[in-house]
Symmetry: C2
Subunit: 208 residues, 2 copies
Amino acid sequence: MRFFVPFDARDPKTRLDSILDDDERREFARAMLADVLAAVRGADHEPTVLATGPTEVDAPVIVDDRPLTPAVDDAFADSDRPVGLVVADCPLATPAAVDRLVAVDAAVTLAPGLGGGTNAIVARTDEFRVDFHGVSIRDHRDRARAAGVDAATVDSFRLALDVDEPADLAEVLLHGEGTAARWLREAGVDLAVTDGRVEPTRRGETGE
Amino acid sequence: MRFFVPFDARDPKTRLDSILDDDERREFARAMLADVLAAVRGADHEPTVLATGPTEVDAPVIVDDRPLTPAVDDAFADSDRPVGLVVADCPLATPAAVDRLVAVDAAVTLAPGLGGGTNAIVARTDEFRVDFHGVSIRDHRDRARAAGVDAATVDSFRLALDVDEPADLAEVLLHGEGTAARWLREAGVDLAVTDGRVEPTRRGETGE
């Protein structure tokens, strides 16, 4: 099945700027993208990067600088069913998690992201339109209901974790096995235990 | 199988004090406990509440005021194998999620919690000891390795979400179907969409 992987080619992951500078955030975003592409391919599907600007990557790329919602709707409209999507900032994705997403037997399968987002979709119907504004998991459920199609949810922590904020990096360090986790370690990002949940911290240098 | 459900009967969920007062936090903690007990029972297992103090609840209760690690170790030691655990502040737990935890064929199965915690365990061996200090998911993996037993992980968002911070309430409102979600709605806690992830907010009153 074809899987679109939306990718911000311009100024990705600005909310990580307390830990990573501009160039690093671009590099790290590419590392996360590589992990998502590997997860999709590992599950025997074909990823296409849906990028906001020119992107050199070892996969087919469609450049569409419109907001995510019309870009994905048009990409889906031009594709056979079933068709899938995994966001590019989901570096804990594994082939097994993608398999579980695809295995759900529903017209639309959604993987919720932390904080109300939608991190992955499989659509088996033409009737479904995406909506990535606001609380998209709620909006996607509403849209499926309005279209009269059943929407199911896959229960996956690996697909729920999209990286937006520094705290999310701790999850990548704890549970990641791919390019993004390796990139963070090499950049000197490490875990610090606070009184609550673990947080990322950064050494001045990576050496020693 | 017997499932222990550790429960703080004294001053639960202090980090929610910006949204809920003392009595409310106690009520809400009880609502979350009810959801976890229902999930364990719905999966045909027998929950026992492992409480830090006297707790009136419709389930067997063991009172142990020691820290979580020795309390759980002793409760496990007194139980047949396999034996399980789900923390009480995990209100998105469902019978299906507990089924998936139990279905993993490993000496020890762990459900990671957000921020490095461990929210659920199934142990099929006597050789495993728990460690709830610090980054417990990492410590539990290390302990399994040190004991020479295999530790697997279940990929579940529903088991990963333990409620510690106000932002976690948004997940309960978005994905909860049980007592805790209902309690929050009746208490007037609702979703607010910020520029990033969705956050909980609270109306002055629930009525008109």
